[in-house]
Symmetry: C2
Subunit: 141 residues, 2 copies
């Protein structure tokens, strides 16, 4: 009957394998405060707990959703403050959503311009190129 049952811990490589996160990135997240400083073995090797793994998952999902590191830091500290409200999170998520929509709009404009240029471009050996002309300012982009 183990009194202080050692929690199942893993080193950085194992955490990387399990989470799918690059091991250098794990260290980076620790450095910038997205992960807590983990326990260490006597010789200094990091030992990650399942909680650490969960937090890394949180961070990775946040990044996949396009949140910036600063936003994730804010979300983490919100979550860790005992009294966080859904409203605060909603604000962050909605404004992030708005910025994604803005990015999509911008990219669609690019897409439109480029499509038009490419459509007018004959390719091949032609000596006059609409794409180059547009870049050179000889016709509207």
């Amino acid at each position: 009957m183990a009194i202080t049952k050692p929690r199942e811990a893993m080193k950085r490589g194992e955490l990387g394998r399990r989470s799918g996160c690059n091991i250098e990135t794990i260290r980076y997240y620790e450095r910038i405060g997205l992960l807590p400083e983990p326990d260490r073995t006597d010789s200094g090797h990091r030992l990650y707990s399942p909680e650490d793994q969960a937090q890394l998952g949180f961070v990775m999902r946040g990044r996949e959703l396009g949140f910036s590191v600063a936003e994730i830091r804010a979300l983490l500290s919100l979550m860790n403050s005992s009294e966080f409200t859904c409203g605060e999170v909603l604000d962050m998520a909605s404004s992030h959503l708005a910025s994604i929509k803005a990015k999509i709009r911008d990219l669609r404009k690019l897409e439109k311009s480029l499509t038009r240029l490419v459509r007018n471009c004959e390719g091949g050996e032609a000596k006059d190129c609409p794409v180059i002309d547009a870049l050179a300012g000889d016709r509207p982009v």
Copy 2:
């Protein structure tokens, strides 16, 4: 009758004002080879010709269309090679267009996920937050 009529030249600040480009960025473009090294006054101040201004315009339009610095460098050297073909430019533009379309697709996925999360989020003082739950891995993102 001026034999060597000095071409109308301008300094960096004037070029920045005319083109709308940040003056530090002009120097940066020179350093990375998107702009040629301009003439200098005796005391070392840069003197830009109208051709330099045109090239800066080319670079800026390229950036606005989302081309990377490397791509613009390639486009410039294509244009300066006496025998460039429209086909080569078309290849670059089409593959760039493809990458923009891919970015749009990715962002739309994000938009969809975030919209769903935000829609399920009541906001206010609720103690259970779908956004946080999703990030924590308790429900699908």
